[in-house]
Each structure stands twice: as C-alpha cells, then as structure tokens.
Symmetry: C2
Subunit: 436 residues, 2 copies
Amino acid sequence: MADIFEVPQPGNDLLEKADQVRLASIIVNQTENYNRIEALNFMAEYLEKNTKEIINANNEDYARAEKKGISKALLSRLKLSKEKLNLGIEGVRKVGDLPDPVDQIQITRELSNGLILERKTVPIGVLGVIFESRPDAVMQISSLAIRSGNGVMLKGGSEANLTNTAIVRALQQGLNKSGLDENAICLLTSRKDSMAMLNLDKYINLIIPRGSNELVKFIQENTRIPVLGHADGICHLFIDNEANLEMALSVALDSKIQYPAACNAIETLLVHKDIAPVFLEKAIPLFNSNDVKLIGDKRSVELGLKYEASLEDWQTEYLDLILSIKIVDDLDEAITHIQKFSSKHTDGIITENVSTANKFMNVVDSAGVFHNCSTRFADGFRYGFGAEVGISTQTLPPRGPVGLEGLVTYKYFLRGDGNIVDDFSLGRAIYTHKDL
Amino acid sequence: MADIFEVPQPGNDLLEKADQVRLASIIVNQTENYNRIEALNFMAEYLEKNTKEIINANNEDYARAEKKGISKALLSRLKLSKEKLNLGIEGVRKVGDLPDPVDQIQITRELSNGLILERKTVPIGVLGVIFESRPDAVMQISSLAIRSGNGVMLKGGSEANLTNTAIVRALQQGLNKSGLDENAICLLTSRKDSMAMLNLDKYINLIIPRGSNELVKFIQENTRIPVLGHADGICHLFIDNEANLEMALSVALDSKIQYPAACNAIETLLVHKDIAPVFLEKAIPLFNSNDVKLIGDKRSVELGLKYEASLEDWQTEYLDLILSIKIVDDLDEAITHIQKFSSKHTDGIITENVSTANKFMNVVDSAGVFHNCSTRFADGFRYGFGAEVGISTQTLPPRGPVGLEGLVTYKYFLRGDGNIVDDFSLGRAIYTHKDL
C-alpha cells in the first residue's frame, strides 16, 4: 500500500470511461431477469472459449511477477490454474441461479382513490470495485454486478493486469452476445485511475474494496462515495462462568484456528474469573498443541499464560495464530471491554444461562451477536445468502454479511389519475392508506 | 449560516455529555414497546404540567429576538403559542400510536440443526439533530427518538434557547418518571458545541439536519457521521405530447403553487415541443393569475414567456413562486435534462401513454418517480408512514421520505448449541438454510 499517497482528480479519459459505464448501466438497469441470466450464461461461455488466452495471460503475469521477486503468498494468489478458472466460470453460472434481487416489491399502497404507491428494489447504478491480486475476483464481482442490474468499474492489482484484461474481454464478449452494452463492465489498469475512482462520486454509487485492512481504511477515509466493507475485524468471545466447559473449549478453538486469517476469527477471549482457572487449565495445552500463541492480562499470566498483553494487543487484528486472553469479573466488564475494542463485526458468548446470553446480545452493538456457536459462522454463504458482496461493520444497513441485496436500492413509483394535493387540503379527497 | 466557518474538536464537557447520552441510549435500547409508549405519555404529561414555564420562556426568547431585529419570518417560526404547544403535545402522544419499529423480525432461518439465525430491527443508538428556530421540532424529534429506542442530542437555533431548554426539561422529567435515564434527551445550547457534534462519530450514529439547504450542505460536507436529509430539492415535471391537457395544467399548478417553499414543489417544467403551443397558451395566463413568475428557454420565450432562463435557473431551487420552463424535442431530451439537473428528489411525467410513463419512471434515477400526479405527494405522511424523519436524496437506502424505519437498523442474532464451522468442512454437519 506504500504506493497510495493521494487521490488524484479524474482525467478526461477516466471521466469519459465513467460516463460510458454509467450509460451502459442504464441499459442493464432496464433488463428483465431472464436477460440478465442469459448475459451471465454468455459471459461464462466466452470465458470458456477464451480459456487459452486467459491462462496464457496469467502465465505471463506470473512470470513477470516472479522476476520482480514478489512474495510467495502474492504469487499463489495471482496464479490462475485451469481448475481455478473453471471454478470461477461455474461461479458465474451459479450467480444466475440466485434469486433476482431487482423488482422486488416492498410496498404497494393505495394512498387515495386512484393514487397507488409502489416501492420496488432497483439496481444501485455503477459499482466501483478495487481489489488486490486474485484475478478470480473479476469474474465473481462482475457476475454479481450484472445479476443485480448494475454496471461496474474494476481495478485490480497491477501484477494481474494481463489476466484481468483477458477475463474482462471475455466477459464483455458475453455481454455483447446477449445484446447488452459491453461497457457495463470496465477495467481500469493504471494505478492513477484506480485512486482517481474515489473522486468519481457523480458516476459511481458504491465502492466495494477487496483487500487489506489498510486498503479499506484508506478508501473509507478518502472518498465521499459510500463504501461497503470493513477494515478491522476484532471479534471477541466471552466465556461466562455458567458456560459448558467442553463447549467453551471447542467453540473458542474453532473461532480461532479454523481459519485464522478470516475477519470473523476471534482475536480476544474474555473469561469470567470464576471459570478462568478450570478453563485455562484445559485451554492452554489445547491452544498450545494447535500452535496458537497466547497473550494475556496479568491475571491470566498468573494462571499460566507465558506472555503478557499490552494495550495494543486488544486493538490488533492478528489474522494469525495468536490469541489475547483477558479475565473479567463479570458480564458487565466483558461488555465494557467489547464496547471499547470491538470493531462491531461479530462478538459471541458461551453460557448456559439464557438471560445472561440475552443481555449480552442486546447490549453488545455489533453486526453479529452469537450465543453458543463459533464466530466463524458470520459469513454470507453460511447465512444462506448464496453470495457475499462484503461484510459491513457500520451501524446503518446494510450491516454484517451482505448478499445481493447490498447491490440494490429502492425507488418510489407513484401513479395517479391527475391527483393533486390541493384537493386534500380542501377536503375534496381523503387519504385511504390501504396496503394492497 | 454566516456564523458556521469551521468544525471545532469536541471539548471534554461535550465528550462527557455525549458519553452520558450514549449510556442512557443503551438503557432506552433495552426497553419494551410498552415502556417506550409509557415514556411518551409521561413526556406529554410533563409538557402539559410545564406549559406556563415553556410559554414564559418562549415569550422571553421572542422579546429578545425582536429587540435584536430578527426577520418577521424567523420570529413567526420562533413563536410558540399555547395552541402550537398543545398540538406538539398531542403529537408526542400520537407518536406512541405508531407501530413499534424495533424488534421487527426480518429473517428467522435454521442454518443447520440447532443453529438459528435471526435478523431483527434494533435502535440505531444516538441521533444528533441540528435544527433552526422552530421549538416544536424538539418535541417531535425527541418523541420519534424515544419511540424508536434511541438517545438524542439536540441543537436548536440560539434564538430559541430558553424555550428549548424548558421543553427539554419537561421531556426529561417525563423520562425520569417512566424510569428511563433522562440523559437520553440532551440539549446543547452553545454554537460551538453544535458544530463540534459533527466530530462525535464515536458517539452519534446518525445526524438529522432540519433547516436551510446551506445548513444541510455544510453538515453533509463536514462530518463522517451518516446524514439523513437532503440539500436541494430540484424537482421536474415533464408534460409529454400525449398528456391530457387539463390534467397537465392542474398537476403543474399544484406542483408549483400548493406550497412553493416545500422541497417537493417543482422548479422546472419540461414541455414536449408538440404540445408546447397549446399548453403554454393556457399555462401562461393560469400561472400569471397565480402570481407565478415564468422563466423559460428560447423556444418558450418565442411562445410568449417574458423572461429568458440562464444556466443558473436550471440549477436553482427557487422555493418561491418562480417556475422555469424548457421545451424539449422528446422524452429522451427531457430525461437527459433531468439526469443533469435533478437533485434526485422527485420527478414526474404527465402522459396518457403508459409505456412512455414506464420508460420515464424506469430511467429517471430519483427517489420518487411520479406519473399523472402532483410532486407534492412526496412526503412521509402522505405515503402513510405516520411520521417523517427526513427525505433522503442519496441513492442507497433509506431513500425518499423516511419514516420511523430510518431510525432503526438491524442486527444478526445467531444461537447455537456449541456449533463449530470445522464440523461442516469435515462433513459432520450440513447447512439446511430453512426459513422458519
């Protein structure tokens, strides 16, 4: 991220591209459900047809990146094997199977005789997606955008430029074949454009960042366009004194080690003082044998932890096999700690006492509040949304894991027969407000 | 608004107050529906009990404002007669009759055996409300805040400080009587605090500005807290060549003159060239006889308008008996004009051709798209929401007139029996995703 210093004003080239996407998005916006499903099928078909070109482009990206001495982790994310590509293509088709998020009627109401109000979901317009490396993201996010009737401007990591260009070309061929304007999917390849996107608030309605916490934080702080996403995921699990000990150990372990790099993995375990001795007696060897480094407050160090935590530990998303542990006097102290340090992503409690659980779940102001289960369930697929566009830690909706509904908004349609407001103030007409 | 120049950092006093509101809001947040209705009734009761003090305070505010030479319009908004106060008190009780926006279950889903997901509406937390003059706003917004389980920090115009203080004292007595923490309603009286509120993003979850376009614009540009509201309301009405002429005249007149200072009144009339001669022949005398000044493009001046419009006219919210008129070649030109100048509040079309109307309504990207009715219907009460918290012109929800649902968000509650994600990856458990 060292290369992101300022947000340049968009140049004329970029403004023109943005206008093309906007115009194309209006066409996608008008399509029926079957048009968009057909477009996805053609997109998948042209990805298949272009398999050789895409794989070749990826090989070249890979060779260049290797030469530049890019890290192994980045290289492995950059690599697009034929299997990965096929999975991506399958994914595009699957997005077509998701229920249509557009044209969902939320309100139909007679306001007065002959005056009918309808509130219906509509596409947002144009999405701006900024992601790092992984070329498979292009296929996924483009298909979600088209499924929901939106246009999309994409900017991926520059290491994957050739791959991304080949993929977008195939996707555009699919759009063309289905009669849609290919400009609805647009790839930016220069670093300057990618940052200038943040100033396109007249053209882009929602920014979706996919990448490191630093990237997300930078974007959130440097754009007036709404951002769907989250920076940190500092999640907590509180082991109450009335917890089932075996369950507490199993859920704590799963919440930490099942996939430690995920945002919904826990960083901090809060343990009620009355259960702490027996819990830690079993938890320390359990976490040790799973290579988890434990860092704790004074009291937990007294109970056998090796490393003492600093203030920074409670504020850090480790994304690694590291867990901080704090012993608390009671539920209130646990809640206070969470209110102070949680990033409002997901926080859980283990207890057999339902009223303790309810108090925790009502007071803790996070997108997800969990009782007796792993925080790792906080995920759009696991919630049954079929897709996950992002996870939002803001207070206002959309909040938590966001599926396709995060890519639509709504609009009020009012249809009358010459109705005027003056008739109501003169008593010649009355409001009926009858839901139909 | 000349006195707003910068946004100061909150001082310790303000931070302490904000924390008190936050803590009090957590208590309101926990209440049941009947608690909140009871609180509203006590708030109304104590407003009645304090009628004398409130009216006296208002008389003093009024006398001071008069001495300062404040404008007649401001003075009349400042004045709180006994009748206005009683209407306000009645309003507080009526808010109790609105359906509870909190605890509404949106999703109940079995994710797997014994693992139940629930998505429920919850209060947002703390609202920050900045309004000008009108002391009745204190009663209205405070009751909406309590109804929806939120705390609220209020800052009114300084001319009404004594009145607002007396009203808030009565409201707090009502909260106390009902067992809630009186700090849930907090009034700021210094100008410095009011602007520093915009930096309280750790304490305030939503800002609701009530006042001039300049105030709203300033707030939108100077806070990271989400703002519910809109600055301009530049609304259009397009008279298609297939319009019913009588209907077109009646709806156009109502949309302009029924209440010209409202945000949902039209500023611009777009007229299809084929209907323009007959339409203007009748419209010019009609608007003239209603004291509406007409300003138009070249073609409409040729058809009899006196004043020619400049670019600025298409961008101005007159909020007055002034109407700009532009003659367009067809629907597409009308849409293009709207896309360029609309503030995405409400735009309407008059036509007997349903497919023309549908195209207009689908392509125009405004919160409200109206067919054959007055734009003045764009209003929370007229939509049947029972209350209007604000009108939003942003693309993302909440959009358009916003009722109590704009003061709540949602949260995911996941309850299990020790469920862990690892069991699913090992095939020991499966997702059922069954809506209950």
